[in-house]
């Protein structure tokens, strides 16, 4: 009786008790007992064939009782000499004990209880036997039969037990791969699909709770097995639904997420851990996403590539893309926040690549816009959506990913069209004397300058400071080099201590960014990639060529004819640039706040379809996915059909014509229980999807046509800037230098402290070797160049004209939003300045020189960060002069921000989410997230908060500029 309860409960303690009892009992005795019990069982089995007579429950429990005893003896038996079977096991194998037991139960009414009993029996002997049992077919075969009979319709208890047993089997597999072969062979005997234990696990992938977790763990074991075992990999990739289920499961889970988030406040901009922990559906989604991430990490490349392609084509494109184009702002904002969270949750580079190429390159069919740009343009909406989009971009920029930076910014800077020709050599130049930092800091509004502002924010004290000495935590590569700096400011000058923190953070940020960017393909220093080769016209051709190549050669070719992620044809296409340039011209800048509808109409975008409901194919996809997740999934023997469907889809993708659909369908052998149609609908979806893609292509080509006209218009408008003709460019240069010359001569008399002699001369003879002894006064060049600023300042205030295309839409929009800093809410400004500071920390000279080099001479059409800052300073000074209480307000704002800073510090130590807090941000003074309710000043006084923030931002930028002048010039190796 005790045994019975032991087995029934799976009670290990009970077993231990028995083990003690058994110890010392000699094997012969055990064998005798075993045979005895078995003889009793056989007697019952023969007498009471359940098919002929009703087996009394007495008999059943008697058998059960004997079986428990014999299994216990089997479990406790040690292997014989040299791994031979012990005598009991040998008997079990010879007499086919397990199979007879299984068949007996099968012949009775095979109820859930009986399944449970059998499953527990196997779980016990597999987990606890002292010798390998699974190597023996008479043990394995009935196990496989049991497993296949348990698939499909079973109660939750049986499911739990089944998964638990499968998990155990996977553990055995992981330890002993020789069993693997047997699993395959045994399944073949059954005429069922190969590798049953794997297939059985699939339906549980997305389960909640322990069952799901156990199933995922078990699958991961098999995944890592696949990395070494080609056969497993091939089987999973070719003959199972694993990848599609995983990917479409994401779609299913996604569909149960709230379509609108209840946002805690206006300042909210991204889903933090605290937020999503409150949302069970989101937790479940993230679990599955994490599982995908883990699979991609450990699985064989074939599986990895397939899964990635299904995630792209089965989740991102059909589900997330339309969700990003929902009709209401809240829905789109919610999707954007989800996307941001997903990108932050994914760590495996391949999966990250999938998300990024979706974000950066995918064209969605509904409005034929390149996705990223569409999302980006929302940065400029004055609604919360804009803030959430900003947060997404902050995440992207924090990845230190070359592709992201290339697509967003660098590709616009590579041709060097944003600067005067003569300035190309300046790109790599080093700012020895912190000239740029000084110029940036000189923009500090007078109401915030250290003299005027009462000091809650700075410590007035004399400083003696040194770097890299007894600060053990500051492990940067410079110190590692042994090349230490110990520099001390000994003078009795009162310093802004606050600034030291900015320097320290700048140092950390730049070092980690520089280190990360070592994997990049090019330095982006104005020479490599060579600007000449990447002029816009040349790029277009290259893009067209690339596109062709793309169609012929899929990006990542599969060894076998698998469905590929049909790479969006525009993958390598820079041509949409012109469309998006228009798209980017934001209505927000132009005038009063407009509604989204108006904005959409204005920006000449094709009107969005009234997508009250998602497109049909997505609905179907979703239904399918939900069924896969929630409903049953039975592996059928018609995987070959499945493969055929995939092949056809692949052919379809390769633009085999539309009418292939009917015949191809007919060639499908009808499956015996044609469940594939009703349950999965995968083929249907695939066909729809592919035909949609074709439509997509057609549409986009139409748009390209349309955009050409607009493009021509733009070209007209900006012909002086963008003309690819070198002749015109030279002419322009000449005009510009002429302008400089005249201005220079005008200004010469009033030109400040250093005599401005020969600016034009310097422009003409710019190359000066270090030891050269000529008389050029370089102070005029680097310190104050008022005559160069003239043409720039004249551009201020004329937003239309100064809207700068040559630096790309992303930077342009960032800058135009920054220009509105005084009207922006505090949290928007925090995000904006955060992103810009993050960009400024990148070591690539092209980016650095554009953002931080205040001496660069840009094309007149280009608005630089410095110009925007300068115009802000003017706006602030104006405000300060017209409002009497401005200084007081500034002080209260400073106090308010400071209080917030310290309250946030407490929170920061609690939440260990490191990705939410980049090193740059970690210690940013006064710049984190939204404040608690201020006491003395309303947040509505955006101009006051913006002024304080502006001043801090200047310090942050100056500190970054200063650290660049040191860090970026020390060789990394050595």
């Amino acid at each position: 009786m005790m045994m019975a309860s032991m087995v029934a409960n799976g009670n290990r303690d009970g077993r231990q008790g028995e083990a003690l009892v058994l110890k010392g009992v000699d094997p012969e005795t055990c064998m005798i007992v075993f045979k005895n019990h078995w003889a009793q069982v056989v007697k019952i089995l023969e007498k009471h064939d359940p098919l002929r007579s009703n087996t009394s429950s007495n008999m059943a429990s008697a058998v059960q009782n004997y079986v428990e005893h014999i299994l216990f003896l089997l479990m406790e038996e040690d292997a014989g000499q040299a791994g031979a079977m012990g005598p009991i096991l040998e008997f079990v194998v010879m007499e086919n004990v397990m199979e007879r037991l299984f068949l007996w139960s099968l012949r009775r009414q095979f109820t859930d209880d009986m399944k449970l009993e059998q499953l527990k029996m196997y779980e016990m002997i597999v987990g606890q036997a002292r010798q390998p049992l699974l190597h023996h077919k008479p043990v394995l075969r009935p196990l496989m039969m049991l497993l296949s009979s348990c698939s499909g319709t079973a109660g939750p208890e049986v499911e739990a037990e089944l998964v638990s047993l499968l998990n155990q089997l996977c553990c055995v597999l992981a330890k002993d791969q020789s069993v693997l072969e047997l699993f395959f062979h045994t399944s073949e005997d059954q005429g069922a699909a190969n590798f049953l234990i794997f297939s059985l696990l699939i339906p549980f992938i997305h389960r909640e709770g322990l069952v799901g977790q156990q199933a995922r763990d078990a699958l991961l074991l098999i995944m890592s097995l696949s990395a070494e075992n080609q056969r497993v990999a091939q089987h999973i990739a070719e003959n199972t639904y694993f990848c599609p289920v995983l990917a479409t499961g994401l779609s299913g889970l996604y569909s149960s997420l709230p379509t609108k988030l209840e946002v805690p406040g206006e300042e909210w901009h991204c889903l933090h851990r605290e937020d999503w922990l409150q949302m069970p559906t989101l937790v479940q989604f993230l679990n599955s996403l994490e599982f995908c991430n883990a699979v991609i990490q450990v699985a064989h490349p074939n599986i990895r590539d397939q899964l990635v392609s299904y995630i792209y084509n089965g989740f991102l494109v059909p589900v997330l893309a339309p969700a990003l184009h929902k009709p209401t702002l809240e829905e789109v904002m919610t999707t954007t926040a989800y996307l941001d969270l997903f990108v932050r949750s994914v760590s495996e580079p391949v999966l990250l690549q999938t998300f990024l190429s979706f974000i950066l390159l995918h064209v969605h069919i509904l409005d034929t816009l390149v996705h990223i740009l569409d999302t980006l343009s929302r940065i400029n909406t004055p609604f919360q959506l804009g803030t959430v989009s900003l947060a997404l971009f902050q995440t992207l920029i924090g990845l230190y990913c070359e592709d992201v930076m290339l697509q967003l910014i660098l590709r616009y800077l590579i041709p060097c069209n944003h600067m005067m020709l003569s300035q190309r050599r300046v790109v790599k130049e080093r700012d020895f004397y912190s000239v740029s930092a000084a110029k940036i800091l000189a923009l500090t509004p007078s109401c915030c300058s250290p003299e005027h502002s009462p000091p809650p924010l700075r410590q007035l004290d004399s400083i003696l400071w040194s770097k890299g000495t007894d600060n053990k935590t500051e492990e940067t590569f410079l110190e590692e080099d042994g090349s230490c700096y110990s520099c001390v400011i000994g003078s009795e000058i009162y310093l802004d201590v606050n600034y030291l923190h900015y320097l320290y953070n700048a140092r950390l940020g730049i070092s980690s960014c520089t280190r990360a960017c070592q994997v990049w393909s090019a330095p982006y220093d104005g020479e490599d990639p060579p600007p000449e080769e990447y002029q816009p016209s040349a790029l277009e051709e290259a893009g067209a060529r690339g596109r062709q190549a793309q169609t012929v050669n899929p990006k990542r070719s599969h060894p076998h004819p698998r469905p590929r992620p049909p790479c969006p044809p525009q993958t390598t296409d820079p041509a949409p640039t012109n469309q998006l340039e228009l798209e980017w011209d934001d209505s927000y800048d132009a005038g009063p706040v407009v509604s989204l509808e108006a904005a959409t109409a204005e920006s000449s975008r094709p009107p969005q379809l009234p997508a009250a409901e998602p497109p049909k194919h997505i609905q179907e996809m979703r239904r399918t996915a939900i069924m896969l997740v929630k409903g049953s999934y039975i592996e059928e023997s018609d995987f070959q059909d499945d493969v055929m469907v995939y092949d056809l889809v692949a052919k379809k993708d390769a633009r085999d014509t539309v009418d292939r659909r009917r015949p191809s369908r007919e060639t499908l052998p009808e499956s015996e229980e044609s469940e594939i149609d009703s349950e999965f609908n995968l083929e249907e979806d695939h066909f729809k999807e592919s035909s949609l893609q074709e439509k997509d292509e057609v549409n986009s080509s139409e748009v390209t046509k349309g955009s050409k006209e607009v493009k021509a218009h733009v070209a007209d408008h900006n012909s002086n800037l963008q003309s690819p003709s070198a002749e015109v460019g030279d002419d322009l240069m000449g005009q510009y230098e002429e302008l400089i010359r005249t201005l220079g001569s005008d200004e010469a008399g009033t030109g400040g402290s250093s005599p401005v002699k020969t600016v034009d001369k310097e422009f003409r003879n710019p190359v000066v070797t270090p030891m050269e002894e000529d008389e050029v006064d370089f102070s005029s060049f680097s310190m104050d160049t008022p005559e160069l600023e003239k043409p720039h300042s004249s551009l201020f205030g004329t937003n239309e004209d100064s809207f700068s295309l040559p630096v790309g839409p992303f930077v342009s929009v960032l800058l135009s939003r920054l220009e509105n800093m005084l009207d922006n809410s505090l949290h928007v400004n925090l995000l904006l300045t955060g992103i810009l500071a993050q960009l400024a920390a990148y070591p690539q000279p092209l980016l650095q020189s554009f953002l931080l080099n205040t001496n660069m001479v840009f094309q007149p059409s280009v608005r630089s960060l410095y110009q925007v800052l300068a115009s802000l300073k003017n706006q602030i000074e104006q405000q300060a002069s017209t409002k009497k209480d401005f200084p007081k307000l500034i002080t209260s704002a400073q106090h308010c921000l400071l209080a917030r800073e310290s309250s946030l510090k407490g929170q920061d130590t609690n939440s260990g989410d490191s990705r939410e807090c980049s090193p740059l941000e970690a210690g940013r003074m006064m710049k984190s997230s939204p404040p608690p309710q201020p006491k003395t000043i309303s947040l509505a006084r955006t101009e006051v908060f913006a002024t304080v923030l502006f001043t801090e931002f200047l310090k942050e930028l100056a500190a970054i500029a200063q650290e660049h002048s040191i860090l970026s010039h020390v060789p990394m190796e050595e």
Binding site: R411, E451, S491, I493, V519, P529, V970
Partner: protein, 290 residues
């Protein structure tokens, strides 16, 4: 390779240098200089609030720049120092002092020529209006017998090479380079040490023997306490395995470290850009699973 030279030199001369100069972190505990000190830059520290005295405010009257001036100076000098490191001047080692970034300690090893085997310690003084002032001064601890070195003060005539110090053109490494060159190419025009100049022109043999004496004298004072009481002053001591073996070990192993360092790093960049392309995700191969 210069480290090797450094050590070979030390050994062949029977003199051993402490590795300390290259490793200021291992320097002795700092004496207090009677100033308020920020020992380390604390992370996330809240600025301490302290009321400003009216006197303090007055000092700032000349504008915002004043309060950041020292930072600019400091970073200019740091930039200069990184340039020196980059140049890898043969046989020259410098290190800014602890007390002031405007004072650098240095030592120069002469490997051939008239001054062969000379080990000369010197100090570089940088004007506090750098880079807009005069050129930096170089003063040898012991006045070397040389036409361009003042026999009393030990100052090298640097200004003849840098008549006007020009920002962006002139850098401190050039001064150091010049200080080295003068020992290989003797110039007797307008000498600071007329005796040496005359001897070189009239009686080279006597000049040579005087140089040998001078080199001996300098080397005999090598183990003297540094002239300046500064934790980062360069000091030589005889080989002490207890101290120097470890330092030596570190110097020879640290070259391998950056790679190891990188492997262990969690934060790393991403790139799927094919070299030579400017298209995102243009690389043919899959990104490596790392």
């Amino acid at each position: 390779t210069y480290l090797n030279d450094f050590w070979e030199k030390g050994r062949s001369d029977g003199e051993e240098q402490s590795g300390e100069q290259q490793q200021p972190r291992a320097s002795p505990a700092r004496p207090s200089f009677g100033k308020k000190q920020l020992p380390s830059i604390p992370k996330n520290a809240v600025p301490i609030t302290k009321p400003a005295s009216p006197a303090a405010m007055a000092q700032l009257a000349n504008g915002t720049h004043a309060s950041y001036g020292p930072f600019y100076l400091e970073y200019s000098l740091l930039a200069e120092f990184t340039l020196v490191i980059k140049q890898k001047l043969p046989g020259i080692y410098v290190q800014p002092s602890y007390k002031s970034a405007l004072m650098w300690f240095g030592v120069i090893f002469i490997r051939h020529g008239l001054y062969q085997d000379g080990v000369f310690k010197f100090t570089v003084y940088i004007p506090d209006n750098y880079p807009d002032g005069e050129c930096p001064r170089v003063v040898f601890d012991i006045p070397v017998f040389h036409p361009l070195v003042d026999p009393v003060s030990g100052e090298l005539d640097v200004r003849r090479a840098f008549t006007k110090w020009r920002r962006n053109h002139n850098h401190i490494w050039q001064v150091l380079m010049y200080a080295r060159t003068v020992f290989y190419k003797i110039n007797t025009m307008e000498p600071l040490n007329p005796e040496a100049a005359v001897l070189y022109d009239k009686d080279v043999q006597l000049f040579k023997s005087k140089v040998v004496d001078s080199v001996k004298l300098c080397n005999s004072h090598l183990f003297d306490q540094p002239k300046m009481d500064d934790p980062y002053a360069i000091s030589f001591s005889s080989w002490n395995p207890a101290i120097h073996d470890e330092a030596k070990e570190r110097m020879f192993t640290h070259k391998r470290r950056p790679e190891d360092h990188q492997k262990g790093l969690q934060v790393s960049g991403l790139s799927w850009v094919k070299p030579g392309s400017t298209q995102p995700f243009s690389r043919d191969d899959n990104p490596p699973l790392s």
